[in-house]
Symmetry: C2
Subunit: 215 residues, 2 copies
């Protein structure tokens, strides 16, 4: 019984913080994105490219990692303010962490606050961070069988990006498996394929970002 | 205070089960391997190839996944007995789960019991499963920066396999970064590079397996 109460407290606590984060973003007309994927699916690389290719869109980035500030350093170099959040062991970010670091950004100058979650397809799926959209990435070398293996991540996704399509044939990636499995897991979302290396599919992603900007 | 006690109880409980698993394996002269990596690093593909290429080595495989029996089906097709363990949400396997399914294998007929852990570079690192060796895989498309980002996984590894070397240049994988970061995280372990597609480096992996067989 005691454990169950603790779990509830944590969940409702996270929801409270997530609601507060959302209120702040809406007040400032900043669109929040929560990026989720396994390690090395290309979240940081896509963000770098997106920031560089779209100087008219103003991004602030919260970089989640267990350790290191490597990703935040990369984002700052690409030209956007970035804060590194290290969990030192924990496998996901919480809304309270986001609420704590938001004051470090000048939201009046931002169109987007992007949270790059910890590289993990399991734990981050259960925690709302108060963002407007959840974007889940699957890279072709990870294999086409991952939708059913990590259904919660893909079920709760508003946008699904299939990344690294430039090496899809080299790694025998079968898009038909993804499409079939998504019919069961998240039939409303059509995955978008893209590659930062070849540039294929980036226009659609950029177009979507422009369409959801609030300022 | 109460939470700390609960954590200790869980940990000591896992250790108790891990010790029992190890006793069973030692009694039967079966070598236990715990395979850890992020999603899609190639654990199942390496196991399939290893089973097919080494008919003289007898493997039993416990396949850990959040959902689906796809990997156990693949292993059975490759010719080894396999049990699928679905955690339905949990991000790692525990020694108690392993102890529960071990009786389903005929250990007298096995040289190796291989546990393919949940695809996750964080949670599985903290739980001993009673295996003799921990093998951690990093695939080249995940990127060379992952050693410092997930230090516990690589720090506790007895063997580190860099997989998918056939596409290393296509994904700009820099092995020097891995070597540098391992000096800080796990200086005793020299990573082995291999590719199931090209066959490069498999001999070393097979040679090591033969060297640790107990029967």
């Amino acid at each position: 019984m005691a454990e169950k109460i603790v779990m509830r407290a944590v969940t409702s606590d996270n929801k409270k913080h997530a609601d507060r984060v959302r209120e702040i973003l809406d007040l400032k007309k900043v669109t929040g994105l929560n990026l989720i994927s396994g390690p090395g699916a290309g979240k940081t690389t896509l963000l770098e490219k997106t920031i560089i290719d779209n100087p008219d869109l103003k991004f602030g980035v919260i970089e989640g990692d267990v350790y290191t500030t490597r990703d935040a350093d990369r984002i700052e170099k690409a030209g956007a303010p970035s804060i590194q959040l290290n969990t030192e062991g924990a496998c996901h970010l919480t809304a309270e962490m986001i609420e704590t670091v938001i004051p470090k950004f000048d939201l009046d100058k931002l169109d987007f606050l992007v949270v790059e979650n910890i590289g993990n397809l399991i734990c981050p799926s259960s925690f709302s961070l108060g963002m407007h959209h959840r974007v889940v990435l699957l890279s072709t070398p990870e294999g086409a069988d991952k939708i059913l293996k990590y259904p919660l991540a893909f079920h709760t996704a508003d946008v699904i990006l299939i990344t690294k399509t430039d090496i899809a044939s080299a790694v025998n990636f079968d898009m038909n498996i993804v499409m079939d499995d998504l019919k069961a897991v998240n039939p409303k979302v059509q995955p978008w394929q893209l590659s930062v290396v070849s540039g294929d599919g980036l226009d659609r992603w950029y177009g979507w970002l422009k369409s959801i900007r609030q300022k």
